[in-house]
Subunit: 247 residues, 4 copies
């Protein structure tokens, strides 16, 4: 990172950060059975359902841990306001994920949403951890990649949509986020410019970006493994998905 007289060169920092984000995404993409299933047109309703249920789980915590950052004692007013405003905009988004997964043939099936996979709980736990402890600014490292993930994710969604022949009305979660997040990504960069003052601030943003994106990669991996266990009968967690009508 380039700093002069303790002034951070944010343009340079964002370029560096984009490179790091790109590296982690490429590692995830290159090793992920889940991504491979999408790209090779082997996505199924069942695999998609497992993914969306796990997405529902962690999404239902995002507004909360975002708001909690703002309540920290060592949080300045500008950043607290950012946290509360973004939390307000993200409330209830998990309902879109739930709507979308129900739309692919789960509406008439009776089931209880299973406990998240350990990898999903771990991501959730870690998002609270970086929100409630350490440098409050570090959660911006999560927002940084999450609000700008659509360059990586949109081609996957297009593939899934095509493979499963989904309507736009069945993709409310991704379409809504992809719209909102363009603005949010600029907000995130602006708030980083306004609040990060020290090398330690910047380092903690990078640390949290790296850690949370990798944990998200582990969730994708775990979704795919759970799908294989569902198919082989080795896990009954998602057994209710066998009732989906694939016709």
């Amino acid at each position: 990172m380039n700093t002069n007289d303790n002034k951070i060169d944010f343009d340079f920092f964002f370029k560096e950060l984009d490179v790091k984000v790109d590296q982690v995404w490429k590692e995830i993409f290159s090793t992920s059975g889940f991504i491979n299933a999408i790209e090779s047109g082997q996505m199924t309703k069942e695999l998609y359902a497992i993914y969306m249920v796990e997405t529902f789980h962690y999404t239902s915590h995002n507004a909360r841990n975002q708001a909690l950052v703002g309540t920290r004692e060592n949080c300045n007013s500008v950043y607290s306001r950012f946290c509360y405003e973004h939390a307000a905009e993200e409330v209830g988004h998990e309902k879109m994920a739930l709507h979308d997964v129900l739309s692919i043939g789960l509406k008439d099936i009776e089931f209880t949403i299973p406990r998240p996979l350990p990898e999903t709980e771990t991501l959730i736990a870690y998002l609270y951890w970086i929100s409630l402890t350490g440098n409050p600014l570090q959660r911006l490292g999560y927002s940084y990649w999450a609000e700008n993930c659509y360059a990586y994710i949109n081609p996957m969604i297009a593939k899934v949509r095509n493979t499963l022949m989904l309507e736009a009305s069945q993709l409310t979660f991704f379409i809504a986020h992809s719209d909102i997040d363009a603005d949010h990504f600029n907000d995130v960069k602006n708030i980083i410019r306004r609040t990060c003052k020290t090398r330690q601030d910047i380092d903690s943003v990078v640390y949290a970006m790296d850690a949370t994106l990798r944990l998200t990669g582990k969730v994708l991996e775990a979704v795919y493994l759970e799908y294989e266990k569902f198919k082989s009968g080795a896990s009954l967690r998602y057994a209710f998905l066998a009732q989906i009508d694939d016709a």
Copy 2:
């Protein structure tokens, strides 16, 4: 309270609640040495300063405990969003209280803001308590009276302004709040209409209104007692106020 078929008659409820709020305010006004000092034109810069410092203290927690309500697990989306949005609007208001108190002659005095009086800490502690435990809706009982307190408070502020010959620019805290809170009071009534469904919800709103307004009354009382101890020298907590130039 009048309920038909489990439907709450909110117009009736708000009228009842207004009567209760009015009763508690009248009890506070009729027994308060602080209010008496204002009304009899005996307000001094020192008494006002003690009041504003204690106000600064509890105000610095209001956005936080408001946001925390929204993070509760049993909070619906509509109410969570309300909590985060209102928290966003209240961030940093304590700085106005601090600005105002500094303006009356404290700018050139070196001092450390003293620890809040026990009664102020008790109010702060209790606001976190109703925000973090029990029925999440109950904090609306605090908002209900707090966002509508200007009917009671504005005449007092006018008196203080007159006695101490303050400019509008020295009353930013009260003027800003009195503007914002007219809208907020309607928001509070609307969110009560949308979220309170049961007798228990309503009862908890009433309980918290009563408890928090009485605790606020105790803060006023404690401010006045501390002022008397300041004058007699029995307490050194606010000794730095002796340096204010009363000329």
Copy 3:
């Protein structure tokens, strides 16, 4: 307080603190309708029941907030261990309070334990506040008077026992505490000697002693007022007590 070379003279400090505790107790005793009812032999089962239910409420939080102090980041090992060990010894004591109140004629009455009085909730909230914020050592100010309150309380219990003709088996809460607390009081003094290093530590212990003992006094006052409202029918919170057989 007498300090030489930043070494605290604890013997002197404890004497000073005892004087302050004594002053607050005397204020409480001299103005309390509750204490007056006991001393004049006018205690009734209903008044005692209200007191014991409110005691049940705050006691059920004491082990918790004691343990929470130990989890604070800025807590040294010696003090954390003290907190956990004392918490372990206080777990479940509220059940004794419940047992005792049931024994005076409530066993065959069907009732739901009412929400604590606002003054009781305020005490509970404030105990969490001093446990979770500020100087972690300050909670020792609460322990200091609470573990040594039997000099003040035992004569009252003897009066109550006599007036209501209670067996020892109906006073398990007070008898158990009065036994345990002799040891605990020494523990509290020892841990203060080992952990308090600065004037700020000492001041925060004194602050919390004063604040929590006064809030406890307010609970006694509120219990008595609630009893009067019970008798006049102005409050229905404890209406179920009318079923106690006073014969």
Copy 4:
């Protein structure tokens, strides 16, 4: 699991659980570069130091998250007392880890303990998560394997001790734990017998055992990867270890 009339067959359950613990350990051992380094006699002071610093980090949270379980509202007295007592016994154990790592040649090196590796923070975060949310009994799944890990770990420690020629006085952390934990493991089994009543209780213990042991495996993996980055210069986090005198 075998249940009759809702009575859990704990002997059977513990056998099943031991099999599962054994499977996860075997997976960890068979794929771990760290374990392989130990077994092949290639342990170095630097690798050991990284491991012990990361151990120091998560150990410094164990008493805390153990105590926090006991403060949960839905925790019965027996279990709360267990939590506080075990927390009391584990306070300060991280100091032993620190002592041991300093003893291998770090005493005269000036360094700041680096932020934990993301995998270590993830384990810490997840331990708080299972302590503070969900079924409070689930943390016993962590205690179950952690208090009984010495069957797996002792041979590794013996190897390390031999390779690095360490005195017993340099292994206080492992020796102390291995002594304490034999008793603790029986305590854990007894408290499971006393508190677990339902299939859901048992399932949550199994879930947390599996999740936390796997996360611990990831820490070992991350320690080894960090060591390789230290050697290649790809990471400067532990650069200060280059000053250890390996003579």
